[in-house]
């Protein structure tokens, strides 16, 4: 039973009329992973998640979720997954208790079991306000955490979180990610979408999506290594960059990527020798620092590499 991977997706595609929202996506997610979907709005992250939750029927391809397929109309899968959608958190005109009772009712949970789960989850998210608190009076971050608790009330194996931290404060975002790690420590698999690079860094593996296609897949380090096999330097000209130098640098065969980062520039090279050769003519006033590429650099390289 536990031998089956959490997700096994093969050639998943969905079309809405002529528009292909998700195009031939295949990947596997192991149990206990934090698996992230990174991409811009409209890249197909949410649509992929919706298909895996049984909310959309794929045009082609197959998927198993928690070892089950969709041959029963997704009934079995719906019992194994918890889903937290992008827009909706909880009914704001109801109390915390009423929202959770409703979630329990939808899953036909025994009252005693639901109460026990509620206690466990309140402990997990460190929620200690009374059950009679109106959801509308809670801060955004707490609503988000409670929403996760509601999605996990039936103890799902796999939790889908669609942009769970959209619109909450940076401090709440950090808290929520600590919570996600706690959830995977319990043996759950978490599938999360985001367009925050710093959040993507915290995922075990990332699927990079662009216009419906999966363009890269791997751990943050793997993605960085494959996008930037050579070293990367941050160039600080301590003022405006000399045009002549940048022009000649761009023509250099050893250069992989040159992108502006505020006042500085990130330059990636094929290898160390190429870098030393290219930067030998660096103006004296400029400083160079060897840096590790960020996921943002990876994103720019992979996405723009396709656009070129």
């Amino acid at each position: 039973m536990t031998a089956a991977p959490a997700l096994e997706v093969k050639g998943l595609s969905i079309k809405f009329g002529d528009f292909t929202a998700v195009d031939d996506v295949s990947f596997t997610v192991e149990r206990g992973e934090i698996f992230g979907f990174l991409g811009a709005n409209g890249a197909g992250k949410t649509t992929t998640i919706r298909m895996l939750c049984g909310l959309l029927v794929p045009t082609s391809g197959s998927a198993t979720v928690g070892g089950l397929d969709f041959s029963d109309g997704g009934k079995g899968i719906k019992g194994k997954v918890g889903y937290m959608s992008q827009k909706f958190t909880l009914y704001t005109d109801l109390t915390v208790g009423e929202n959770l009772d409703f979630a329990a009712g939808l899953r036909k949970l025994e009252p005693a079991y639901a109460m026990r789960r509620r206690k466990e989850l309140f402990e997990l998210i460190a929620f200690d306000s009374p059950l009679s608190t109106m959801v509308s009076s809670l801060p955004g971050g707490v609503k988000q955490e409670l929403s996760l608790a509601a999605a996990m009330l039936h103890d799902p194996e796999i939790v889908f979180l669609d942009e769970p931290t959209a619109g909450v404060s940076p401090a709440s975002r950090a808290r929520f990610w600590a919570l996600i790690r706690k959830v995977t420590a319990l043996g759950k698999t978490v599938i999360v979408t985001t367009h925050y690079m710093d959040e993507a860094e915290q995922c075990g593996r990332i699927a990079l999506m662009r216009t419906g296609k999966l363009i890269a897949l791997g751990s943050p380090d793997e993605l960085k290594a494959s996008a930037f096999p050579g070293p990367m330097a941050e160039l600080d000209f301590n003022g405006p960059a000399p045009e002549g130098f940048l022009e000649s640098l761009k023509k250099n065969q050893g250069l992989l990527e040159l992108s502006p980062q505020g006042m500085r520039w990130h330059a990636a090279f094929r290898d160390k020798a190429a870098m030393d050769a290219a930067l030998s003519s660096l103006p004296a006033a400029a400083a160079r620092t060897l840096i590790k590429p960020s996921l943002e650099d990876v994103f720019i390289r992979l996405v723009e590499g396709i656009e070129r």
Binding site: K78, S85, D93
Partner: protein
């Protein structure tokens, strides 16, 4: 509809009740608005003609002519005012000061006393045809009353025709209007309630969450409709209380039959609301569509004001697909005529059929799959 689970439907219904209880607006709308409207319209919509200004030119001025005028006055239909010439009476009609005029020429009293055929002239403003019709309807009764007062024998008609109005002997239009008005308000509110509550779930994204659980569409529909059936029944109860004790509208038929008809009508209207909300998926649009589809046909084509029988053939057939038209027959039949289930078999069957049709449509439209 395999796998319908009562527990899950009940969970949706419980949540819906919470929403209703938290939102006083809904409660006031369903429980208060019908009562308020029935009270307002009960006073304002009165097709009975009363206290009409009557210009009276009495050149005869005898005991008998004065008795005639007093018969008009004491009927309650007219407020007589004296004018000094027939021309003045006509001017009064022109200016709208009088709705009718009564002209008694000299010799009226003598004719009455002498057993001749006394004659008076009666002029009616025909601008408002329904008012004029009503006034003309009063005349035979009034002249008859006057003749009896004179002690004269009422001249025998060649064909003695005695008219008796059954069920509503005084032709009190409130008895007709109030049950009909209740039908329209209840229908409109039912459509609006489900249209808004389901559209709200689409709008705030919670429908997606509901569909990600094992919840079936049929359970959502049942859970959404059930609380509102209860609420609508409470609203109908209050309206009937007001109709009966506020306006003296009788309730002659079976409560159970009326309840059955109301439930069918509420189910049909609530289903219509669900169809609207699934199609629109936005509260604003759902509201507008509910208003148009819920108000116009029921106001104009249900027989509320204009009798279905006298409509052109196309509209007469068209009304058959409108649930308010059938419930209108049931509501008026049961309350005023005391009609039984056998008398109302056709409207009941038609209403049940429409109800089943709309419920099926709501279910079919309620797709499991979300479009982005």
């Amino acid at each position: 509809m395999t796998g319908f689970n009562l527990h899950r439907a009940a969970a949706v219904a419980r949540k819906e009740v919470m929403h209703i209880l938290r939102d006083p607006f809904t409660l006031v709308l369903v429980l208060g608005l019908p009562v308020v409207l029935v009270v307002f319209f009960g006073f304002a919509i009165d097709f009975d003609v009363k206290n009409l200004a009557l210009g009276v030119y009495d050149r005869d001025n005898t005991r008998h002519s004065r008795q005639l005028v007093s018969v008009f006055e004491s009927s309650g239909y007219f407020l007589p005012g004296a004018v000094d010439s027939p021309a003045a009476a006509v001017r009064g009609l022109d200016s709208g000061r009088y709705s009718a005029a009564l002209l008694v020429e000299p010799g009226f009293g003598r004719e009455v006393g002498g057993g001749g055929r006394p004659r008076v002239q009666f002029i009616v403003d025909g601008t408002d045809n329904s008012k004029a019709q009503a006034v003309l309807g009063y005349l035979p009764g009034l002249t008859g009353a006057a003749l009896r007062k004179f002690g004269a024998t009422v001249p025998a008609d060649p064909v003695p025709l005695k008219t008796r109005f059954m069920y509503n002997p005084e032709l009190n239009s409130r008895w007709f209007v109030i049950p009909g008005l209740a039908v329209i308000i209840i229908g409109l509110l039912s459509i609006l309630m489900t249209a808004l509550t389901v559209a709200r779930e689409w709008e705030n994204g919670s429908m997606e969450l509901l569909l990600s659980t094992p919840l079936r569409p049929a359970e959502i529909i049942a859970g959404k409709i059930a609380p509102y059936v209860g609420l609508i029944l409470a609203g109908v109860f209050f309206v009937n209380l007001v109709a009966r004790f506020g306006f003296g509208v009788p309730f002659r038929g079976s409560y159970l039959l009326f309840l059955g008809g109301t439930v069918l009508f509420a189910l049909a209207s609530l289903s219509q609301g669900i169809v609207i909300s699934v199609v629109t998926r936005q509260q604003q649009l759902a509201m507008q569509l509910s208003m148009i589809s819920g108000l116009l046909p029921s106001l104009l084509l249900s027989g509320f004001i204009f009798p279905v029988e006298s409509m052109p053939a196309f509209f007469r057939y068209f009304t058959m697909i409108l649930s308010p038209r059938w419930f209108m027959e049931i509501a008026r039949g049961v309350t005023i005529r005391g009609a039984g289930a056998a008398d109302l078999a056709l409207p009941l069957a038609a209403l049940a059929g429409l109800c089943a049709l709309l419920l099926t449509a709501a279910f079919k439209k309620f797709k499991t799959d979300l479009e982005p």
